[in-house]
């Protein structure tokens, strides 16, 4: 779809020309603007600090009418991300009823960054992480830091 091509190219140009702090994007394959490689620095002040997380952002053919899909390729121990090879993430802006065609990829990326700083345990997909986050914050931080060291150095 031509319209989606133009829009994605523009968004890609904006994000690469003026990248937000701690986020680096590139195309998985230069000839295909639909698949983005995202490298996210673990935000300072979070247990993920010091880690580098790779994510895959896929823009469907009917983007921007349908939301992008984004998954962690680097394992991360987080209440809202599945702790498996899929690294599926639960995030409000990507829910079909919240997504609007004028929503931007940049806001998806910054929302993801925010999610690392502030997990939303009530929307958890990884219940053991959510429970620890709610009931024993120091233990949660410690475990998340260990996994960051192990997988995202």
């Amino acid at each position: 779809m031509a319209s989606s091509q133009k829009r994605i190219t523009k968004e890609y140009a904006e994000v690469t020309a003026n990248p937000p702090a701690g986020i680096h994007v590139s195309l998985v394959d230069e000839s295909n603007v639909h698949n983005w490689n995202v490298i996210l620095d673990g935000p300072e002040g979070s247990p993920y600090a010091g880690g580098k997380f790779t994510l895959l952002l896929v823009l469907p053919s009917d983007y921007p009418f349908k939301p992008p899909k984004i998954n962690f390729k680097t394992r991360i121990w987080h209440p809202n991300v599945t702790f498996d090879e899929h690294g599926s993430m639960c995030i409000g802006i990507l829910k079909p009823e919240a997504w609007k065609p004028s929503s931007k990829i940049l806001s998806v990326l910054t929302a993801t960054q925010n999610l690392l700083v502030e997990p939303v345990p009530d929307d958890a997909v990884e219940s053991s992480a959510a429970e620890k986050f709610k009931n024993d914050r120091p233990a949660f931080d410690k475990e998340a830091r260990e996994y960051t060291k192990k997988y995202a150095k």
């Binding site: 319209s3 989606s4 133009k6 829009r7 523009k10 009917d62 921007p64 009418f65 349908k66 079909p96 609007k100 065609p101 004028s102 929503s103 931007k104 806001s107």
Partner: protein, 515 residues
């Protein structure tokens, strides 16, 4: 207790009304016919026009799609005049207030700004919606910026090109089935798209779909309106029965498409059983669906006299209590052929196994009780499922009869009436068994069972006559018999339904469980 008055005022229904149920049926059909073609459908006065006939009938109205549309239009016009706002906005406000006109007007009078904001109708300027060509415009969705690009913005000012707007709306309507709450495509804007703007932006087929979906929300938002659940039926039914009434009344309604269903729970007609009982019974049947398996696993028929035998101990040496036949539980063969070498009955004397036997006997009794009712319930259900075949057969018979005996169309209608009565009575009989399952034993229950027996005997007798071949059916005597039996069946059905409905309304039944 106003609701009681509402549906009990027909208690005094005169007997001659009941004497000919088939007449009654014709009458009600005719009445629906009038309702449907009546151009002046109005909620309030219509309710009173249909007289109640019996204690088990309730007041209701059937609405066709155009009636439902007109009701909405009337409400929209009214709000449009009272509040002096655009019709499109009135429609959005009404949907936002779930069609509660009074509350909308009251709230709007108090805080118009807040109400508009909450319904997604922020500050507005006037003028009809139109496509525009705006200089230096770039669509925020597709990033096209070629000169002459047609674009559209609602009152919120968020402007997108016509094709993106269209694609967005197509997706919302077609894929997501959304209509009443489609927001502006701009991120974070909660302004709701109105019908006029929508009509400007999408093709005619989608406009139609959009309006269908809007109509659907109207019925779904109203407590007194429900869609007829029959496949492909576009009608809705209005009925004033409230949820709290459902323990004292079984609100069966009949749609213009002939489908009868319960307004309380949308299941097929289940008179005389109230909704709560039906729910419990269906759950029990679902839970106990393994029961039949259990029985087949734990009981066997005596190989000689076919009595059902339940194995209640470890012993394989079975002696039929009825005919004293001795056989082996394992192979069902004659016991005398087995000898005693591998047979060990010691366990049978142990306390644990005798306890187990007692428990099994107990559960067997309650199981038998349940199965007694379930089998009869299921039998009538099965017969009800065959109704369609019966009806087709009847039609064929009627045609044959017309050519074989020279009877006119009108003269063979008695078979149609018989078929109709059979279907109706079986549906009722089926639920009388679920009803009876939960009844405590007392005089009233006995009366109920007598009524049930009368109805069942009449139905089976009619069913038998009905099965006769065409030659016999054309005999004038049988015709008279069938007509008599048909009317008798309907009378018996009325009888049992009246008895149950009246005592349901005044809490006269004692149940074996709490409802």
């Amino acid at each position: 207790m106003d609701s009681e008055d509402d549906f009990m005022s027909g208690l005094s229904s005169d007997d001659d009304m009941l004497d000919d149920q088939s007449d009654n049926d014709d009458e009600s059909v005719a009445e629906f016919g009038i309702d449907e073609s009546d151009p002046e459908l109005d909620f309030s006065h219509k309710k009173d026009t249909k007289k109640k006939k019996t204690s088990f009938e309730i007041n209701f109205k059937v609405y066709k799609p155009e009636d439902i549309q007109r009701q909405q239009d009337d409400l929209i016009d009214e709000v449009n005049m009272i509040l002096d706002i655009r019709k499109e906005d009135a429609a959005i406000l009404l949907r936002h207030f779930r069609w509660n006109k009074e509350r909308l007007i009251e709230d709007y009078m108090d805080r118009p700004k807040k109400v508009l904001e909450a319904a997604g109708l922020g500050p507005s300027t006037t003028g009809p919606p139109k496509l525009e060509v705006v200089p230096d415009f770039m669509c925020d969705i597709c990033c096209e910026d070629e000169p002459g690009l047609k674009s559209f913005a609602m009152k919120c000012g968020h402007r997108f090109c016509a094709s993106c707007y269209n694609q967005y709306l197509v997706q919302k309507i077609k894929e997501e089935g959304e209509a009443a709450r489609i927001q502006c495509p701009a991120d974070g804007c909660n302004r709701i798209i109105d019908a006029k703007s929508l009509d400007l932006l999408v093709a005619a087929d989608l406009q139609q779909r959009y309006h269908e979906l809007l109509t659907r929300t109207y019925v779904e938002d109203k407590e007194h309106l429900k869609w007829c659940p029959a496949p492909d039926c576009p009608n809705a039914i209005e009925c004033g029965i409230k949820k709290k009434d459902l323990i004292r009344v079984v609100p069966t309604v009949a749609c213009g498409c002939d489908y009868k269903f319960c307004f309380g729970c949308i299941l097929a007609d289940h008179q005389p059983a109230p909704c709560e009982l039906v729910k419990r019974w269906l759950k029990k049947c679902a839970d106990d669906s393994e029961t039949a398996n259990w029985i087949s696993a734990h009981t066997k028929e005596c190989p000689k006299c076919n009595s059902t035998i339940e194995k209640n101990g470890g012993c394989n040496h079975m002696t039929c209590r009825k005919c004293k036949h001795e056989f082996c539980w394992m192979c069902m063969g004659l016991w005398s052929e087995h000898g005693t070498s591998w047979y060990n009955c010691n366990r049978f004397e142990e306390k644990s196994s005798s306890d187990a036997r007692d428990a099994q006997t107990k559960s067997r009794v309650s199981l038998q009780r349940y199965l007694h009712y379930y089998n009869r319930y299921a039998n009538h259900e099965q017969s009800a499922k065959l109704d369609k075949d019966i009806f087709i057969k009847t039609e064929k018979k009627m045609v044959q009869l017309q050519s074989a005996s020279g009877m006119s169309w009108i003269e063979v209608q008695y078979l149609n009436a018989a078929s109709h009565a059979l279907q109706e009575c079986r549906q009722t009989l089926k639920w009388t068994y679920a009803f009876a399952f939960y009844l405590a034993r007392n005089n009233m229950t006995e009366m109920f069972e007598d009524n049930q027996k009368d109805l069942e005997m009449a139905v089976e007798a009619l069913s038998e006559m009905f099965e006769k071949n065409v030659n016999e059916l054309s005999e004038p005597k049988l015709k008279v018999d069938i007509m008599d039996k048909t009317s008798y069946c309907s009378k018996r059905r009325d009888k049992i339904l009246e008895h149950t409905a009246e005592n349901l309304a005044n809490g006269g039944w004692s149940w074996s469980v709490d409802f």
